[in-house]
């Protein structure tokens, strides 16, 4: 049970990361969600800048951070915080590693923690344009206005909902913002900008980090 909560929190973050790269998922019906999928682009490599603002209960000022992220289809996700201090999160099929500078701050691998593969599996199936996994965990509700859209995600299981709260995404051809509202009152907003796709989007350093 303990791990479900952990998985859910982990999965939430990953879902968010995955969703923002959720370029062009196959459209099948006329529902808004399917329209949104049709609006999304679908590059094999997507990189860009993120700005994150966290508002935590009990802390007056919002916590601001920014950095770069890359999503490589079928390979993994690299999330590099640059400000206020460097921190790198790398997700691959069998492991999740967090680096503080050169020090490994946290490592979860599938051998030690079986859910890692499941989390990453969900992520990768999302990247491949398979919404069925996401649909199992969340109720999706969206609307489209012109070139932009928004989607609200609500966990299907009560325990899951309690642990992760609600997610909201907005975007056009790409995801623009992600908002996470937790049951505890903590709120996180992530905004993406300067998105690039194609082989030149990723620096050599980033490519090496994902190898």
């Amino acid at each position: 049970m303990k791990h479900l909560i952990k998985v859910i929190r982990t999965a939430r973050r990953l879902t968010v990361i995955a969703l923002l790269a959720c370029a062009g998922l196959p459209a099948h019906a006329a529902a808004p969600v399917d329209k949104i999928q049709a609006m999304l682009a679908r590059p094999p490599i997507l990189c860009g800048r993120f700005d994150q603002s966290k508002q935590l209960v009990g802390i007056k000022k919002p916590l601001l951070s920014n950095g770069r992220f890359c999503v490589v289809n079928g390979k993994g996700v690299l999330w590099r915080t640059l400000q206020p201090f460097p921190n790198t999160l790398r997700l691959k099929r069998d492991e999740i590693v967090q680096m503080q500078g050169d020090r490994v701050a946290m490592r979860m691998d599938a051998k030690q923690e079986p859910v890692v593969r499941m989390i990453n599996g969900v992520l990768f199936s999302l990247l491949a344009g398979d919404l069925s996994q996401l649909d199992k965990l969340f109720e999706l509700d969206g609307s489209v206005q012109g070139n932009s859209w928004k989607v609200a995600l609500k966990a299907r299981e009560p325990a899951l909902a309690k642990a992760i709260g609600t997610l909201a995404l907005t975007g056009g051809a790409y995801v623009k913002t992600v908002t996470i509202d937790e049951a505890s009152g903590d709120r996180t907003e992530i905004t993406f900008s300067g998105l690039q796709s194609g082989p030149t989007a990723m620096t050599a350093e980033e490519g090496a980090a994902l190898e």
């Binding site: 049970m1 479900l4 921190n87 999740i96 967090q98 979860m108 499941m118």
Partner: protein, 792 residues
């Protein structure tokens, strides 16, 4: 007398009929019933029962597939079949949303008192900056590992770390309402099932095994590539029972056919066969009836052993029949019986002496077997005494040419005397026996008594690896005057186990104190956290500066932290056990138990990943010099009990030889040794053969040696007892008896059950040797041999 006996037999028949037809009795198949009841240490006994009973009723099925959806579909099909039989099986895990939410509540309230050993070390050694930095990293990172609840409740991630350490105690994880583990990308759904009927009951096995097969078929129908791995005591018990029943029928039919054939060849009449079957039948009926009355249950192995032992009972009938054929027609059967009485009485007495040794062992199963055998023999004997003279008139039977031929073969046997040939034989035998016996090894390992089917064993090993489950037969038993003392002692033990985890001797341990540390440890943890993290100039203040918060914020955070786990709200095992989270740990806590020294508290510290038996002494040593901690290794304990009784039975055997010698001495005086020489030499020969062939000696060999003595004495007595002119019929008696004993016990040597095989092999060699050499110790003179040759 014959009429009185008819009444007794009538009663026995009625009782057996009642037992089998009305009550529908099923023999007990629990192998543990054959082991002595441990009465020395009630707490230890309870701890073991606690572990084993839980394990015994559990059935684990793992459903593996290429992906999660397939695994789910296959598991659902499998479960659906089992769900139709809730009276037999019950799924032991229900993952409700409620239990998922509530499971951590008691621990969460007490989080300040909960630290892992690594966290304790870091809190002692790391500077304030380390903790402030970690807290900031967590704040800014999009993903910071497990986090439970609001950030302010666990700013340094200590509670999350503790929860993660608890999670590492098992690789099993909940997912979509299932339990699952993963290996090399392959998901396995774990179905935990509880048997609601005794695992060792044959009725359970007969109902369960086809049901599991049906469920497997359903799962395969849904997902053809499904992989099913099963483990459970009931599967082994089922395989064992099936094997025992199979062997019982083949051995039973084989020996019956052999005996019937022998009798037919000898007497050319069905009457003697019917009479011997009658005497054995009465023996069996009586043994079963009386054993049931005395023990309230009859073990399947008792029937297997007992049915074979009753084969001895045929000796009495054969002896009478052969004598009748040989006796003068003028002698009526009552007179003949009177003449045979000394020999008959002596053989019964000698056999009973042998089995009394068996009855003296503390093994309840062996006592039952001994009593079963003695009762069977006595009743068969009485049947011969009371009924045979009336059923067999002097003219009823005639000798056959086969019987004559067997009888005549005796003159080919050399007689032992003071001559070169005898001396040479003695020297050769002495060399063979002494070298063989010098090479004899012993093995009392209980594992060598079990040969589970290979697939079952392979599945069990794979399942054990996937689940990394603790072993139920090796653990530490921790005792104390109070729950608190038990927890403190567990913590002392864990300090010794940590290095063993680091050395990969064990992969981990499960202990109650992992979940609820002792109050002492909880207080120490609180003090450690307060001092290292919550101090005025500590990490909290540095964090406040970074976040732009003031001193008021620091105070507020400190108060918030201290409120979580203040004194007076300590977590106790009693409290923890009420929560859903304790479900996987409940088997560890024995609580208050009544022991030899009054009431004590006790718990179990279970070990995971014990793969190498050579490491067991290291684990045993870890408990040394720790008060109230005891290493329990039930496997080696039972093995040492078996070894103890192997030695004990060896002495019983020697004493039986002495006692029987005294008995024989009363009748035969200085010739008594001639009766005992052949079983004694056969015993030496068996030990030597085991030594030469490298087979270790174990309890069941020694038990068979007891029977070799019993039968060997019979043959010696028959050969010694008969009048000279009839000695070829004595030899016929021995030949018939030995051949049928070989048929019944020789077939036991074919058994796949190691104890029965050991028993059968010993009997095979022993009886063959006794049969071959018994005539060599006769007193017969050469003249008698010649006389026999002429008359025949």
């Amino acid at each position: 007398m014959a009429l009185v006996w008819a009444l007794v037999v009538g009663l026995l028949l009625a009782h057996n009929g009642y037992l089998w037809l009305v009550k529908g009795v099923v023999p007990d198949t629990d192998i543990l019933a054959l082991l002595p009841v441990e009465q020395r240490d009630p707490v230890l006994q309870q701890a073991f029962t606690h572990m084993v009973d839980a394990a015994q009723q559990r059935l684990i099925v793992m459903v593996g597939a290429d992906d999660w959806d397939q695994a789910r579909a296959a598991a659902d099909s499998y479960s659906a079949v089992l769900a139709k039989h809730p009276e037999l099986l019950q799924s032991s895990v229900k993952l409700s949303a409620q239990s998922q939410q509530d499971w951590l509540a008691p621990a969460q309230q007490m989080r300040l008192g909960l630290l892992t050993p690594a966290q304790q070390q870091a809190l002692r050694e790391q500077p304030a900056k380390y903790w402030a930095d970690s807290a900031l990293q967590q704040l800014y990172s999009p993903f910071s590992g497990p986090k439970l609840g609001a950030w302010q409740d666990d700013p340094f991630g200590l509670f999350s770390g503790w929860v993660q350490a608890r999670a590492q105690e098992t690789p099993v994880r909940p997912r979509d309402g299932y339990l699952f583990v993963e290996e090399k990308g392959r998901p396995y759904i774990v179905l935990l099932l509880n048997l609601r009927q005794p695992a060792f009951s044959m009725a359970t096995q007969q109902a369960l095994l086809p049901l599991l097969e049906q469920a497997a078929t359903a799962a395969r129908h849904t997902v053809p590539s499904v992989e099913l791995i099963r483990a459970g005591v009931v599967l082994h018990a089922g395989a064992g029972s099936a094997q025992a029943s199979r062997e019982m029928s083949t051995i039973g039919i084989g020996s019956l056919l052999g005996i019937v054939l022998l009798m037919w060849l000898t007497f050319r009449s069905l009457r003697p066969i019917a009479m011997i079957v009658l005497s054995i039948g009465v023996g069996c009926l009586a043994a079963f009836s009386l054993c049931w009355i005395i023990f309230g249950q009859v073990h399947l192995l008792t029937l297997v052993f007992g049915a074979s032992l009753i084969g001895v009972a045929q000796d009495y009938g054969i002896y009478f029949l052969c004598s009748r054929v040989a006796a003068d027609q003028s002698l009526n059967s009552q007179q003949l019986l009177r003449r045979l009485m000394p020999g008959l009485t002596l053989t019964l007495a000698a056999a009973v002496i042998g089995y009394i040794g068996l009855a003296l062992t503390p093994f309840p199963g062996l006592r039952q077997m001994a009593l079963f055998s003695v009762l069977g023999l006595v009743f068969a004997w009485l049947t011969v005494i009371f009924w045979f003279p009336a059923l067999l008139k002097p003219a009823t039977l005639k000798s056959s040419s086969f019987a004559g031929w067997i009888g005549r073969t005796r003159r080919h046997w050399p007689l032992l005397g003071w001559n070169r040939a005898s001396l040479l034989a003695a020297v050769l035998f002495a060399a063979f026996a002494s070298i063989g016996i010098a090479r004899l090894q012993v093995n009392d390992d209980i594992r060598s008594l079990q040969t589970p089917p290979k697939e079952l064993l392979a599945e069990q090993i794979k399942l054990g690896k996937l689940l990394d489950a603790p072993t139920p037969v090796q653990f530490y038993l921790v005792r104390g005057a109070s729950a608190e003392q038990v927890l403190q002692r567990e913590e002392a033990l864990k300090l010794k186990l940590e290095p063993l985890v680091a050395r990969h001797i064990i992969s981990g341990y499960q202990a109650m104190s992992n979940w609820t540390p002792s109050l002492q440890a909880q207080n120490a943890n609180r003090a450690l956290v307060s001092q290292a993290l919550l101090g005025d100039d500590g990490p909290l203040k540095m964090l406040a500066a970074q976040l732009g918060e003031d001193a008021g914020w620091v105070t507020q955070m400190r108060n918030r932290a201290l409120a979580g786990g203040s004194a007076g709200h300590e977590l106790t095992p009693a409290e923890f056990l009420k929560s859903a989270a304790s479900e996987p740990s409940r088997h560890l806590w024995l609580g208050q138990v009544t022991g030899a020294q009054g009431n004590v508290y006790a718990s179990i510290v279970a070990l995971r990943g014990v793969n190498n038996y050579a490491d067991l002494p290291i684990l045993k040593r870890a408990a040394d010099q720790l008060d109230g901690v005891q290493w329990v290794d039930k496997v080696s304990e039972i093995s040492s009990v078996l070894g103890h009784y192997r030695q004990y039975m060896g002495w019983v055997l020697l004493c039986a030889y002495a006692a029987i010698y005294l008995l024989l001495f009363m009748r035969y005086r200085l010739a008594a040794w001639r009766v005992l020489a052949s079983p004694a030499l056969a015993t030496l020969a068996i030990l030597a053969v085991l030594g030469w062939s490298g087979q270790p000696l174990q309890l069941f060999h020694v038990l068979a040696l007891m029977l070799v003595l019993g039968l060997g004495v019979d043959y010696g007595i028959f050969l010694q007892e008969q009048g000279m002119q009839r000695d070829r019929f004595a030899w016929l008696t021995v030949g018939l008896s030995a051949a049928s004993a070989l048929l019944s016990f020789g077939l036991l040597a074919l058994s796949g059950t190691p104890p029965l095989h050991a028993f059968g092999l010993t009997m095979l060699i022993g009886i063959a040797v006794v049969w071959m050499i018994a005539p060599c110790f006769s007193q017969d003179s050469q003249q008698e041999e010649e006389k026999n040759a002429i008359t025949s």
